[in-house]
């Protein structure tokens, strides 16, 4: 019986490993090299050309997905995206996660209440650093108790 | 598997003959059983082959009887519908008499029996055994399967195998004794 169980566990472990391999390998199995990209995608993703080889496969697929959306964007949006690419690519995964989280929260604020975001941003930037930091949520920097 | 079948096919044929008492049908049955074994169990280890082949063979024999039953049902239906059935009835007693005459000549005193005749009589008596008893007896003592394998091939308990075997032995021994043969 112990032998049976052992056999079973070995078989199950192998199967799991195989499954993990499939699951993990499927989305990021291929790591498209820069040369493998289509000419159109190379043109869209041009700002990333120099750093492409340092980008992990998963992110490369993400970029290719963005390149596919690119033709459907407004010219203004296209220009913005290309301008921001390099910066975005250089962020750490945590920073990107944080930014996405913030984007989600900000977009939840009703437009009539948040006003013009650009204007708000420049107003916020003009605040003295102390006040800006005070606005940060307590978990990152607890607000001084008064 | 090739070697196994080569060694087992003649005995299988004989087993089928004992059961269905017809060479052509027995050949068909063995052929069918071989095909089934090859198609379904061609990759099984050699040690399992004898048991599997026996199981398939016995199933094939049962299938044959089932088909016979259906066929004879049709024959009965047709013959009951057709006129002139009385003629057949008239012929039957003659054949029965002739057959009885043949079997009478076989019952000779033991010392005058040739070895070949003894074998034939044994075959006849084996053929007359109840099907399950014959199956168990032949698998155990001719095919040399053990009790567990026989039970597996017959789809019954080991206890039943032992019972079938011992009944078959007694029936057979008694029948042979009645015909003047003691082994």
């Amino acid at each position: 019986m112990a032998e049976k169980t052992r056999r079973f566990l070995i078989a199950a472990a192998f199967a799991l490993l195989a499954a993990a391999g499939i699951a993990h390998g499927a989305p990021s199995g291929k790591r498209p090299a820069w040369a493998e990209l289509s000419a159109a995608h190379q043109q869209i993703l041009a700002p990333l050309k120099e750093t492409w080889e340092q980008i992990v496969p998963e992110r490369r697929h993400n970029w290719i997905g963005l390149a596919k959306r690119y033709p459907k964007m407004q010219p203004k949006e296209q220009e913005r995206m290309q301008r921001r690419m390099e910066h975005w690519a250089k962020l750490t995964p945590e920073q990107r996660k944080q930014a996405r989280e913030n984007y989600r929260r900000i977009s939840k604020v009703p437009p009539d209440k948040r006003g013009d975001l650009k204007q708000q941003w420049s107003e916020y930037q003009s605040l003295p650093p102390q006040e800006r930091q005070g606005a940060a949520p307590p978990k990152s920097k607890p607000a001084p108790a008064k | 598997m090739s070697a196994f079948l080569e060694g087992a096919e003649r005995r299988a044929f004989k087993q089928a003959v004992y059961a269905v008492r017809e060479e052509q049908a027995a050949l068909d049955i063995v052929q069918d059983a071989m095909l089934r074994l090859a198609e379904k169990y061609g990759d099984r280890p050699a040690a399992e082959m004898p048991m599997l082949f026996q199981r398939i063979l016995q199933n094939a024999i049962r299938d044959w009887f089932r088909r016979q039953k259906v066929r004879s049902l049709w024959v009965t239906l047709f013959s009951s519908l057709l006129p002139g059935r009385g003629e057949d009835d008239d012929q039957d007693p003659l054949e029965t008499l002739a057959a009885a005459g043949v079997s009478n000549t076989e019952e000779l005193p033991p010392d005058r029996l040739e070895r070949k005749q003894v074998i034939e009589i044994i075959e006849q008596e084996v053929s007359k055994l109840p099907a399950r008893q014959r199956e168990a007896f032949l698998m155990r003592y001719w095919e040399e399967l053990d009790v567990a394998e026989t039970a597996q091939a017959m789809g019954c308990s080991e206890g039943s195998v032992k019972t079938h075997c011992s009944r078959a032995t007694h029936t057979l021994a008694a029948a042979l004794r009645a015909r003047g043969i003691t082994l």
Binding site: Y124 | L5, A38, W142
Partner: protein, 125 residues
């Protein structure tokens, strides 16, 4: 019991004598055997059968196959679900990235820890 065995042994000998025949019947049996062997399932080869053999030798052939097949099926289903979820997540991230990269606000606005809270506080008034 000994008598029974002895008797059975004699019967076997005699029956076997009659089972050593040649002729057309033997010929037909041989042909049937060859036909069967031709239709035989693939010869034992490759990993699949090795598993079967090992299991067979362990005496758990039936069980292990009965266990392994559902386990493999389960694992494949798990892998498929996982892959599908990964893809969904990747698509969501992509969608968000597209919005973020083309947003009115610069990336820095979203990286700033205070801006979002400040904005909400203002919106509340």
């Amino acid at each position: 019991m000994d008598n029974e065995l002895q008797f059975a042994h004699r019967v076997r000998q005699l029956l076997s004598e009659n089972a050593r025949f040649g002729g057309p019947v033997a010929e037909r049996l041989r042909a049937a055997r060859n036909a069967a062997l031709e239709r035989r399932k693939a010869e034992p080869a490759g990993g699949h059968v090795v598993v079967g053999n090992v299991a067979g030798r362990m005496g758990v052939g039936g069980l292990s196959l009965r266990v392994i097949v559902p386990v493999v099926a389960l694992v494949v289903a798990f892998a498929a679900t996982y892959t599908w979820e990964q893809k969904q997540r990747a698509a969501e991230v992509e969608e968000l990235d597209a919005l973020l990269l083309t947003s009115d606000l610069p990336i820095d606005a979203y990286l700033d820890r205070g801006f979002e809270a400040w904005l909400k506080k203002r919106a509340a008034f």
